[in-house]
C-alpha cells in the first residue's frame, strides 16, 4: 500500500487544475434546453481540441492514454473546478466501453472520434413503457430487410434524447424468442426517417428525456454492435460499466460534498443536526473515493468489476440525494426557491432519479444479496 501520489501524478493533477482554471467557461445554460445543449456541445469540442474530453482513451481517438489513477485524478479536478457538466456522458460512460469491447474496427474508427469531439452526442434507448428495469421485456421489433432493419415500437426515458444525434438501442430482432433471447444492440441515427421523438418533461418541466416512436424506421444493419441476437450479453457488459466505475466517478461527489461543506461553513449558528448531516455526507464522499481507489488497484492488477458494482450504484445514488437534501435543509425557506442560481434544487431533482435509473436500487440490492452474498434466488 502506498497512498502517496507519485510525482508524475502530482504533476498531472497540477496540469489538470491549471488548465481547468485557465479555461473555465463560466456558467452556461442547462443541457436540457436546446440552447444549453449546443453550448455544452461546444464545450465538449473545446475540451476535445485541448485533449481533455476523453483522457482515459487511446490517443488515436483523441485521448491521452491515462491510467485509472490519472482518470480518477482528472475527474476529481474536473468536478471540483466547477466547469460545466458533460453532455457526452451517456456516450463516453455507457456506450464507449461497449464499443471498445464489441465493435468492429470500422465502427470504432467511425464512432469514437466523433463521440470524443462532441459531433455525436448519444442518448440511451433501452427502456420501453413495459420494460423499465426489466430489459427482457423489450418489445421494439427490428426485422431484417436487405441490408437494413425495419424498426417498429416505442422507447422511453431516453436521457438527452430530446436533442441527441444518435441513440444506442436494444431491439428485438427475433420476435419468436422469449425474454433475453433474440435481442440486438443497434445504433440508431436520430434523423432516421420513420422515427419520431417527443420530449418528456422531468419534474421541473425541463425535457430531461424523450420518447422515441418507430414506425417502419429503417436503420442500416452495419450499425449492429456485437452481432445480431447478442444484445443481452452486450447490454449486460455495458450495465456493468453503467453501475461501475465509469458512470459516477468519486470526483463528482467529492466536489458536491466540498460545496456543501462550504455552504455549511458560511451559516451562522449552524444547527448541530445539520452539521452532523453535512459531515456524514462528506465522510461518505470520502468513503466512495477510497472504495474506488481500492477497486482501481484491483482493476490495475487484472481483476474485473462484477456484481459488486451494484453496491456502488446504491451508495452513490443515495449519497447524492443526501448531499442535495441536506443543502436544501441548510437553505431553510429559500431551499424551495427555484430562481437562477439555486443549483442545489436542480441537483436535488436530478439526484431523485439516481435510485431509479440504471436499474432501481431495489434491483441492485437483489443483485448484491444474490450475486455478491450468494443468498438463494427463491
Amino acid at each position: 500500500m502506498n497512498l502517496d501520489l507519485a510525482p508524475h501524478y502530482v504533476a498531472f493533477r497540477n496540469e489538470c487544475r491549471q488548465w481547468l482554471t485557465d479555461n473555465h467557461p463560466g456558467r452556461i445554460a442547462s443541457m436540457d434546453t436546446a440552447v444549453g445543449f449546443e453550448e455544452h456541445r461546444a464545450w465538449e469540442k473545446f475540451l476535445f481540441d485541448a485533449g481533455w474530453s476523453v483522457p482515459a482513451w487511446p490517443s488515436v481517438y483523441g485521448g491521452r492514454d491515462c491510467d485509472l489513477i490519472e482518470w480518477l485524478i482528472y475527474e476529481e479536478e474536473y468536478w471540483l473546478s466547477g466547469v460545466p457538466g458533460r453532455v457526452s456522458a451517456n456516450g463516453v460512460s455507457l456506450l464507449a466501453p461497449t464499443i471498445f469491447n464489441f465493435a468492429t474496427q470500422e465502427q470504432q474508427d467511425f464512432f469514437l472520434p466523433r463521440m470524443a469531439s462532441g459531433e455525436h452526442i448519444w442518448a440511451q434507448g433501452w427502456s420501453e413503457p413495459e420494460a423499465g428495469s426489466d430489459l427482457a421485456g423489450i418489445k421494439t421489433k427490428a426485422i431484417l430487410d436487405g441490408d437494413d432493419f425495419i424498426l417498429n415500437g416505442q422507447k422511453t426515458w431516453c436521457s438527452r434524447g430530446a436533442f441527441a444525434d444518435w441513440i444506442f438501442c436494444i431491439v428485438r430482432t427475433d420476435p419468436e424468442a422469449e425474454r433475453h433471447q433474440g435481442l440486438t444492440y443497434l445504433l440508431v441515427p436520430a434523423e432516421t426517417p420513420g422515427m419520431e421523438r417527443r420530449p418528456i418533461g422531468r419534474l421541473d418541466g425541463e425535457p430531461g428525456f424523450a420518447e422515441l416512436f418507430f414506425d417502419d424506421a429503417r436503420v442500416s444493419a452495419k450499425h449492429v454492435l456485437g452481432g445480431v441476437g447478442q444484445g443481452w450479453a452486450v447490454a449486460m457488459a455495458a450495465a456493468g460499466s453503467e453501475r461501475g466505475l465509469s458512470l459516477r466517478s468519486p470526483g463528482r461527489f467529492m466536489a458536491a460534498a466540498e460545496r456543501l461543506r462550504a455552504l455549511a461553513a458560511d451559516v451562522t449558528d449552524l444547527d448541530p443536526r445539520l452539521r452532523d448531516e453535512v459531515v456524514d455526507a462528506w465522510i461518505k464522499a470520502q468513503a466512495y473515493r477510497w472504495n474506488t481507489y481500492q477497486m482501481a488497484a484491483d482493476l490495475m492488477e487484472g481483476a474485473e468489476i462484477g456484481p459488486e458494482a451494484s453496491e456502488g450504484k446504491v451508495f452513490w445514488s443515495e449519497l447524492d440525494l443526501e448531499l442535495h437534501a441536506t443543502a436544501l435543509r441548510l437553505m431553510g425557506p429559500m431551499g424551495e426557491v427555484a430562481d437562477a442560481g439555486n443549483d442545489w434544487l436542480d441537483g436535488y431533482v436530478f439526484a431523485l432519479s439516481g435510485p431509479i435509473y440504471a436499474g432501481t436500487n431495489e434491483i441492485q440490492r437483489n443483485i448484491v444479496a444474490e450475486r455478491v452474498l450468494g443468498l438463494p434466488r427463491r
Binding site: 425557506p333 424551495e336 431509479i356
Partner: protein, 325 residues
C-alpha cells in the same frame, strides 16, 4: 374523552371532498399554474358559498362559528386534492385573526370577495394574487393592505412566492395573537401534509398493483410492500396527533400546551409526507419523475409543505423546550 368526529363533521368533510374532486381535479391545478393569478377559476367562490371560508368566523359576523376540529379535515382534503389556493393562510389564520381583531376586512374574507395571505417569518411567503397580508410585526399582527414585493419561483408551481420589500399601508390587528396565528398555520399545514401523504400513498398503491415487471405486479415485491407499509404506519401515527392538535388549538387555554401539541403534529406530519413522497417516487420509477404524470403535483406539495411553517427540526426544538430538555 372521545376521540372521534361527529356525523355532521363527517358529512361536511365529504361534501368538501366532493367539491374538490369536482372543481379541482389535477387538470385544474395544472391550469392554475399557467394563469396569471395562480388560482382555480370559480373555486374560491364555491368555497365561500359552501361556508368553508367562514368556518372560523363567529356566527355573529356571518360565519359558521365552528372551530379547528371542524376545519382540520377540510384542510386535509385540500392537501389530498392538491388545492393550489392559499386556504391555510386565509381560512385557518387570517379569518379568525380578523375576527379576533374585529377588523372590517372580515366580511369580504368570508364572502370570498378577498383573498388574504400570511407572512409570519419574514422570508418568502405565498403572496401573489392576495388582497392583503396578515403580517407579523414583533409581538403584534397587522393587516398589510398595500405593499411591494419581489416574485420568487417555488419548485412547487402551486406556491406563488413573494419576498416583501416594503409595506406602504397596514392596519393593526389588536386582539389577534401572533403565536396563535403561527400555531394555526402550522396545524393547517400539518393537516395538508397528511392529506398529501394519503393521496401519494393511494396513487402509489394503485400504480404498483397494475404495473408489472419481471412478470409480476411491482406491488407484489416485498421491498415495495415494505416501503408502502412504512408510509402507511407513518401516516396513521401522524394523523391522530394532527387531530389532537386541532382540539388543543380549539380548546386549550394554555398556549404552552397548545404549542407543544401543534409542534408534535407538524413534526410527525412533515416526516410522514416526506417519507410518502420519497417512496411514492421510488415505487413509481421513471414515470413518477415526469412532468406529464400527475404524481408530481403532490410530490411538490410534499416537499414544500413539509418545510412550510416550521420543518421537523424546528418543531422538535419547540417540543424540547416545552418538555424541558
Amino acid at each position: 374523552m372521545k376521540f372521534s368526529f361527529t356525523d355532521e363533521q363527517d358529512m361536511f368533510r365529504d361534501t368538501v371532498r366532493e367539491l374538490f374532486a369536482d372543481r379541482c381535479p389535477p387538470e385544474a391545478v395544472r391550469q392554475s399554474w399557467d394563469n396569471d393569478e395562480g388560482r382555480v377559476p370559480g373555486l374560491w367562490a364555491a368555497l365561500a358559498e359552501m361556508g368553508v371560508l367562514a368556518v372560523l368566523a363567529p356566527e355573529a359576523a356571518g360565519g359558521l362559528g365552528m372551530n379547528e376540529v371542524d376545519l382540520v379535515r377540510i384542510l386535509e382534503e385540500a392537501g389530498y386534492a392538491g388545492v393550489p389556493e392559499p386556504l391555510v393562510e386565509h381560512v385557518a389564520v387570517a379569518v379568525p385573526a380578523l375576527a379576533e381583531a374585529g377588523h372590517a376586512a372580515l366580511e369580504a374574507a368570508i364572502t370570498g370577495d378577498s383573498t388574504i395571505t400570511l407572512n409570519l417569518a419574514g422570508e418568502v411567503f405565498v403572496g401573489a394574487a392576495a388582497d392583503a397580508v396578515v403580517h407579523r410585526n414583533g409581538n403584534t399582527l397587522q393587516l398589510v393592505t398595500e405593499w411591494k414585493a419581489d416574485d420568487a419561483t417555488s419548485i412547487d408551481q402551486s406556491r406563488r412566492l413573494s419576498v416583501l420589500t416594503d409595506i406602504t399601508a397596514a392596519d393593526p390587528l389588536d386582539g389577534a395573537d401572533p403565536d396563535l396565528a403561527f400555531d394555526r398555520a402550522a396545524l393547517g399545514t400539518a393537516a395538508q401534509c397528511v392529506g398529501v401523504a394519503r393521496r401519494l400513498l393511494e396513487a402509489t398503491v394503485e400504480y404498483v398493483a397494475e404495473r408489472h415487471q419481471f412478470g409480476k405486479p411491482v406491488g407484489s415485491y416485498q421491498a415495495v410492500k415494505h416501503h408502502l407499509a412504512n408510509v402507511k404506519i407513518a401516516l396513521d401515527f401522524a394523523v391522530p396527533l394532527v387531530y389532537r392538535a386541532a382540539w388543543s388549538v380549539a380548546h386549550d387555554d394554555d398556549p404552552f400546551a397548545r404549542g407543544r401539541n401543534v409542534s408534535m403534529a407538524k413534526a410527525q406530519a412533515s416526516e410522514a409526507v416526506d417519507l410518502a413522497a420519497r417512496q411514492a417516487l421510488q415505487c413509481h420509477g421513471a414515470i413518477g419523475y415526469t412532468f406529464e404524470y400527475d404524481l408530481q403535483l403532490w410530490l411538490k406539495r410534499a416537499w414544500t409543505l413539509a418545510a412550510a411553517h416550521g420543518d421537523v427540526r424546528f418543531h422538535r426544538d419547540r417540543v424540547a423546550v416545552a418538555i424541558g430538555v
